[in-house]
């Protein structure tokens, strides 16, 4: 009991310390610019959360290091890109309803298609290497090459420009603070996805079984639950989240390209190491830390932007080697 209270205190102190740290840039940045950067950082954080949560859940339950997650992310972006191409009239229409409809269709299509791809990947490739991290890294890296080459076969090797639904483009100007509409949508999307995942994990039986599986897979099996079916389902959900991240990021960055997964996979691993492998809340907090610090530092010291996240990761690893949150949260 005392250990649990101490752990909670420790966690709350760390969070309070992080909160104070994120107010520090106010000493060097104008408040209005700070607000704009904060919204940009939160949006980037939420996009990273979509990618990192899949990596984290897959590792937490299945103990699988999935390096193919970046390729699944790219597939999600390309499936969404194709839906936008097919329904270009709705994308360009000056109608909130049609813009939202095409975004929802692209989202469902990307998640379902990449979820199915995830099922095939888990059944054919990953299942053979359970329990062996080295083989997992090698085989999922191999799968990445195949999946990226398949993108080149189906969509071509060149970068493509993504068309943004009209409602999502442009800015709001609230009291001289410039707020990009799409960034607000990204923040909302990330918050909704987090809430839905938490709701499933905490309030449904399947979610409770997944949390139990993160703690003790053998025991879950010995209670009559087919852990392999659960693994396949979790892998599909993780792949679906990667796809959603890919789609959202492609609208954010206005482009798709076959290798786009690699860059974000690196960020995703930094996020899950900071947040704690296997923890969805950890992924959210880690992603927000990375998103915010990247944006503040990019404004103040542009050359140090990429390095600051690695530095934060090293500090977190030194203080709490298991990350900020425990698995299963």
């Amino acid at each position: 009991m005392a250990e649990s209270i101490f752990r909670r205190w420790n966690q709350e102190l760390t969070m309070a310390g992080a909160g104070v740290l994120f107010l520090l840039p106010l000493l060097a940045i104008q408040p209005k610019t700070y607000l704009t950067l904060t919204i940009a950082g939160l949006a980037m954080g939420m996009l990273l959360f979509l990618v990192a949560s899949g990596v984290s859940i897959i590792f937490g339950l299945m103990d699988v290091l999935n390096f193919a997650h970046g390729a699944l992310f790219a597939w999600g972006a390309y499936v969404g890109f194709s839906v936008f191409q097919l329904l270009m009239k709705w994308v360009e229409a000056d109608s909130v309803l049609q813009n939202l409809a095409v975004f929802c269709i692209a989202m469902v299509a990307a998640m379902v298609a990449v979820g199915l791809l995830g099922i095939i990947l888990e059944r054919v490739v990953v299942r053979r290497v359970y329990g062996n991290h080295l083989f997992q890294i090698l085989i999922t890296f191999g799968a990445t090459i195949v999946l990226v080459e398949l993108i080149r076969v189906f969509w071509g090797p060149n970068d493509e420009v993504t068309t943004v639904p009209l409602t999502f483009s442009g800015n709001w100007d609230i009291m001289d603070v410039v707020i990009s509409r799409y960034r607000v949508i990204c923040i909302l999307l990330g918050a909704i996805v987090y809430a839905v995942i938490q709701l499933i994990l905490k309030k449904t039986k399947i979610g409770t079984i997944v949390r139990a599986g993160v703690e003790d897979r053998d025991m879950v099996q010995a209670m009559g639950h087919n852990i392999y079916l659960l693994f396949t389902g979790v892998f599909a959900v993780g792949a679906g989240l990667a796809a959603l991240g890919g789609l959202a990021m492609s609208i954010f960055s206005l482009q798709v390209y076959p290798d786009m997964g690699g860059t974000y996979l690196l960020f995703a691993f930094i996020v899950v190491i900071i947040g704690g492998l296997g923890s969805v809340t950890g992924s959210l907090v880690g992603a927000l830390i990375v998103g915010l610090s990247y944006n503040y530092v990019a404004y103040l010291v542009p050359w140090a932007a990429a390095g600051v996240n690695v530095l934060i990761m090293i500090i977190i690893l030194l203080i709490r080697p298991t990350g900020l949150f425990q698995a299963g949260k």
Binding site: D218, A222, G224
Partner: protein
Amino acid sequence: MVEVQGVNETILKVEGVHTHIGQHHILQGVSFAAKADAVTVLLGRNGAGKSTTLKTVMGLLPASKGKITYMGKEIQKNKPFQIARMGIGFVPEHMGIFSELTVEENMRVAMLVEDDATARRLERVLDMFEALRKFWKSKAGNLSGGQKQMLAIGRAIVNDTSLLLIDEPSKGLAPIIVDAVIEAINQIKEHSVVVLVEQNFYMASSVGDDFFILDDGKVVQSGQVEELVRNEELQSRYLGISKVEESNG
């Protein structure tokens, strides 16, 4: 090989089972039978293969050779979840509590079907272990050792369990809690067949009917527990129990 007793009334029959863990040959032809109307106790020193035997029956470790029959069906090739669904409950040595989940959530994970019969069994479990009712919404990780053991046993019998495999339920528990666990097992044996792995001879002799002693991955002695209680030479040779230790119980 030890002769399997009471074949006609056996619910579980283990015949010449071998199990390897990595390079190590742990079980080297274990054979025993659990009768439908008895508590079967597996005894032996540390490392004799008792826990490995239960894990092999449960399918958590693959049997490399031999046959395991439960209610007339061979199960040695089945997966653990299939074995559990056949009505076999398992309480491992480490209890397997999901410490980040509440007591209620631990129970929910264990319930394969949530019908009236399960609700009645849950009530029976909560009547048997009042502490679980009291800490129903608490994190299982915050329970005491004895309460965790109660939760582990409760989870294993909340389904329609015909056979319960329990691995060292007295380990690390205070004597008063051990008595409570003995009382619980005596109640459980009215509904389910129990196979118990135990090092605590006081507990084994309090609940056991038949015994099998394992040594170096093989069954070396078997019989009635009451005979073993009288046979000090056997206790001393295979279980390392002296008269003084036993009286300290």
